[in-house]
Symmetry: C2
Subunit: 344 residues, 2 copies
């Protein structure tokens, strides 16, 4: 068993060869079995909020590829949903929710959060029960800044603009929003750990493009408080941070200040830089270009080998730099896994 | 005169206090006089390719604000246009051009390029003649990688995907495309300098998100060759590079390898990092958040002061980290200029 759960060993800063591998959005549209289930279920949100469906979708890529970790099929917008904002998914346009410009009316009662989020925890517990014991299950949440961008804009386009205007124009009220999000995200991560998650990942998908001072107070500080709260409840909790497309200085500051166990890096962050700068104190995760996975062939093998070579002997989880894209050929995922699994 | 042309002194690595200031897209939709002229002219492309109109639009922000440099009103897609690809602008959707996946049929004859681009050079010469002598005029071009993203996708959305797939899947043919672009971009910059441009800027707007190895061969190397070609023709040419939203390591490699005179940095690149890493060998330009300029008030003043404080005593051009946005209040631009001009 210990031998098998190599993903968790890496998060404990052990080096494992070949490295464990999972792919962001591995339970998703590139899988025919996912597309088939989605046709029946109707909507993304229905799938995410129906425990049986979320469980089944989470297991699909494990059955097919035997990834070294499963990640719960869910969505970062379950937290705004728990705060009282109804979320809808418009086909081809992404999520919509009511745009807010104050914290008035947001639900702050953890008992209400629990009721709203119970389907997530039920789905997670069901998945943990069905999943083979040697495959760790990852829970996750969006980070406060990224959630704030959706809540301020009411959608996922022009993502940062509305939140930045709120934060620049009314810093006290924006801080109040981040405070509520810190509470609810920490609650959500703790509950997932208690429902059976073996590790959690915090996605700050819109962490790029922020001035350094804003990155500090909108990205790093809320995440630092979340990690602290989760560790207060569960001192051994394994936490991966993904402040996507941060500056390199941003990644470094984030890792040191938040004290996450592992840093997931995007495709542009040079793996050699990550090894040099963060490789000592943190497990690393990343960072294959999802477009190289679509391209396949020599380019994919070269990019894969470069990452494997740079991270040899270090605690490292092979992953993409961003989510797998819907039109990724299954054969290329197989090609990737064969290459990784034959690495020494 | 010498005292007045402080933008050019900064590009010669002199420190000037208060620093010169201009704003990317300063000739644009946030100006009522621009919107009025656009209503009459009909299309963006007509304005860019009609010398009298391009000249008038270039001068508008100089008349209103007295910026320390003018930048020719034009578009990076004039280079694909010269290569034989007709460009159209769909209202609200950005530019469209025929998507290509090979270099077959691209025009490689400099005489034909000259004919296609003559309106740009005529507009530039006209502007230089009308502009007061103490205000430098900046010419510009898109960098090969960014132009390749538009040419491969046929538009400006999903920008990098098609070009990455081309580059990963057929590196020889993609290199041939970059080679042609190097030739035509260098030609275009040289001609602008000969028509009266006092400096040129190379925009690599889609330089973000590239793996380090690809950044090296798709961004840095083509730009290095362009700078070399321009300097062979005009040894004293002043060149600003803007590989937007590169990683910090990317900016550093780019500056050292291409040998541009100045580096323009985006909003997320910490100004303190830029000063520490590049401040010795290169003039710096940037990097106010365009959203802070929309927000105005205390946030704008604080962000402005932070940049002014960090760059005091260094060769620095105050600018935005990205183009000024159409709904930026004129009063906030005035507030910004007052703050910069009162700096000591």
């Amino acid at each position: 068993l210990f031998e098998e759960r190599k993903f968790l060993r890496v998060l404990s800063k052990q080096s494992v060869s070949p490295p464990p591998v999972w792919l962001m959005r591995q339970a998703g549209r590139y899988l025919p079995e996912y597309r088939e289930l989605r046709t029946k279920a109707g909507s993304f949100w229905t799938m995410a909020m129906t425990p049986e469906l979320a469980c089944e979708i989470t297991l699909q890529p494990i059955r097919r590829f035997g990834f070294d970790a499963a990640i719960l099929f869910s969505d970062i917008l379950v937290v705004p949903f728990a705060l009282g904002l109804p979320v809808t998914f418009v086909e081809g346009e992404g999520p919509r929710l009511p745009a807010i410009n104050s914290v008035d009316g947001l639900i702050r009662d953890p008992q209400a959060w629990l009721e709203a989020l119970r389907p997530v925890y039920d789905g997670l517990a069901m998945t943990r029960a069905k999943l083979d014991a040697q495959t760790p299950l990852i829970g996750f949440a969006g980070a406060p800044w990224t959630l704030a961008t959706y809540m301020a804009a009411g959608r996922g386009k022009d993502e940062q603009r509305a939140a930045k205007l709120w934060g620049y124009g009314d810093p006290l009220s924006f801080d109040a929003l981040l405070d509520i999000l810190v509470e609810c995200v920490a609650f959500h991560l703790i509950r997932q750990l208690e429902a059976g998650a073996d590790a959690v990942q915090i996605f700050d998908s819109w962490a790029s493009g922020l001035p350094a001072a804003m990155f500090e107070c909108w990205v790093i500080e809320p995440t630092r408080r979340i990690v602290e709260k989760v560790r207060t409840a569960h001192p051994d909790a394994k936490i991966i941070g993904f402040p996507r497309a941060s500056t390199l200085e941003g990644y470094e500051r984030y890792a040191q200040a938040t004290k996450v166990d592992a840093i997931s890096i995007d495709t542009a962050a040079p793996i050699h830089w990550a090894v040099r700068t963060l490789g000592g104190g943190f497990a690393l995760q990343g960072n294959l270009d999802p477009i190289a996975l679509i391209a396949g062939g020599d380019a994919l093998l070269r990019a894969t080998d470069e990452i494997l070579d740079a991270t040899r002997g270090l605690p490292f989880v092979f992953n993409l730099g961003h989510g797998i894209l819907p039109d990724t050929p299954i054969a290329h995922v197989e090609q990737l896994l064969t290459r990784i699994r034959s690495a020494r």
